[in-house]
């Protein structure tokens, strides 16, 4: 069960912007206006393989939404379907936009640090910050072969501080964060290694948590484990390349979810037995330590079996 209002979207256009990157232009299937969304918002598309969340690169009630989907080799099928099967005219159920990665209105400066396909919210941010004439600086990490792709997508204007670095390691995060003026907010989206490095570099320099924002979707993958749903009375084997939430849904159990990225807390489930491996950004350190709750969208299990009270 997906939370919130649902939309029915039609693929107006689907183009390959670079090898492995496909941009979808989505409009309302009935031709009506779509709900507006601020930069940083995402929608969750229902694909034959399950639910996938994508950040909106642009969102205009009249013109529609744009997302960019990377084809991932270890795909659960979502990106494969978007790349190989989806065609203009196809209709997809989706959630209304939700924003868990919004720009901070009081920031004096916005420092954007992206990596790889984490460019998608950055594109929405840059478009908005340009219009607002708000100070920003962007550093994007990419494998050497893709530097040109991201430079084209970001389309830096003269005088803008927009840089695409070959990485990892890419830019020296400690040096970059150390010179940021008071009132800067940093936003990071990309591989978890990059985002963790941004968070730890900021913490080491005394940045308060309120000025550090991150977004990650589907940090999936890990050791397979057995999941027992006590109320439903079923046992599920969670595969190495599958999230716990996807496994629960595949078993036909209706469980609430929203962002599918460990941020919103909607899918929180009570743990009866076993020790979760927490990967979310929602639970407090004390809640994690108690092992009484888990967010199945991103978290896994340290113990061979995990028993949930759902």
């Amino acid at each position: 069960m997906m939370d919130g209002q649902t939309l029915t979207l039609r693929v107006a256009d689907a183009v390959l912007v670079a090898p492995g990157l496909r941009r979808l232009h989505l409009v309302a299937a009935d031709g009506t206006r779509l709900p507006p969304a601020a930069p940083g918002a995402h929608i969750t598309l229902t694909l034959p393989s399950g639910h996938n969340s994508y950040t909106l690169v642009s969102a205009d009630p009249e013109a529609g939404y744009e997302v960019i989907v990377r084809l991932t080799p270890q795909s659960r099928g979502g990106s494969r379907h978007v790349h190989d099967t989806l065609a203009p005219g196809d209709v997809l159920p989706a959630t209304v936009p939700h924003n868990l990665f919004a720009l901070h209105s009081q920031a004096k400066k916005h420092l954007l640090i992206g990596g790889g396909i984490g460019v998608t919210p950055m594109l929405a941010f840059v478009a908005h910050l340009r219009l607002a004439h708000a100070p920003f600086e962007l550093h994007h990490m990419a494998v050497s072969a893709e530097i040109g792709v991201f430079e084209t997508l970001l389309d830096a204007r003269p005088g803008e501080r927009v840089h695409v670095h070959a990485g990892p390691p890419g830019v020296d995060l400690g040096a970059l964060l150390a010179v940021q003026p008071l009132g800067t907010h940093v936003y990071t989206c990309g591989p978890s290694g990059l985002m963790n490095a941004v968070e730890s570099a900021a913490a080491a320099l005394g940045w308060p948590d309120s000025h550090v924002h991150r977004e990650d979707f589907g940090a999936s993958g890990g050791e397979p484990f057995m999941l027992r749903l006590a109320k439903s009375g079923i046992d599920i084997a969670v595969a190495a390349d599958q999230t716990m939430l996807a496994a629960i849904e595949a078993a036909g159990v209706d469980t609430p979810s929203l962002c599918r990225g460990g941020a919103c807390g909607v899918c929180l489930a009570p743990v009866l037995e076993g020790t979760p491996e927490h990967r979310d950004h929602y639970l407090t350190p004390a809640e994690r330590a108690s092992s009484r709750m888990v967010m199945p969208c991103v978290s896994r299990s340290q113990s061979a079996t995990l028993v949930l009270d759902i």
Partner: protein
């Protein structure tokens, strides 16, 4: 009173995750009572205080350490200058009268600092800036529940409503219904 949004203050303690700390006070002898258990004056090597004496010379760029200022206006001007040149990781701690600590908070907010980057602790006898809702005059140093507005002359009742944006309490004419009928004046510290 219902509807009060009166600020509550907790004793200050250094934020151990910060890169740098700046303690600003509207007096020099910061008493032990403003510190949380375990914290002392020694936790704040950089301190700015007001001497309120003409012999204190204005300095354009106070260096680290203990610095003295001539007035709160002098201190706040230099604070704005300092914050404009600061990098992330600073925490600010303001101690003194309520109007002073919120002046510091305003300077910090305007520099982009959030509430988790500042700690405020109001000390001393309660003293309030009261804004007249009728003429918008700001009456400084109010210590009673009733005050005659220096702007328009009406008798203002000081409502228990504080504007964090304007650093003023709300003053409303208290004898608008029956002119001349005034409640008893009470001291704010009572």
């Amino acid at each position: 009173m219902t509807g009060s949004n009166r600020p509550r203050y907790t004793p200050i303690a250094p934020d151990l995750r910060a890169r740098a700390h700046l303690l600003v006070a509207d007096h020099l002898d910061v008493s032990a009572g403003v510190f949380a258990p375990g914290a002392t004056l020694a936790d704040f090597p950089e301190r700015w205080g007001i001497v309120a004496h003409a012999l204190v010379l204005p300095e354009p760029l106070p260096s680290a350490g203990v610095k003295h200022f001539r007035s709160s206006a002098h201190l706040l001007a230099l604070l704005r200058h300092r914050l404009a040149a600061e990098t992330m990781g600073l925490r600010i701690y303001a101690v003194g009268s309520e109007p002073f600590v919120w002046d510091v908070a305003k300077a910090a907010t305007e520099a982009g600092m959030g509430r988790d980057e500042m700690q405020l602790f109001a000390t001393g006898q309660p003293v309030r800036r009261v804004s007249c809702v009728h003429c918008r005059h700001i009456n400084p140093d109010v210590t009673t529940t009733l005050v005659t507005c220096a702007g328009c002359g009406v008798a203002l009742s000081v409502r228990d409503h504080f504007s964090r944006a304007h650093n003023t309490w709300m003053g409303v004419q208290c004898d608008a219904e029956i002119p001349g009928e005034l409640p008893a004046v009470e001291d704010l510290s009572a």
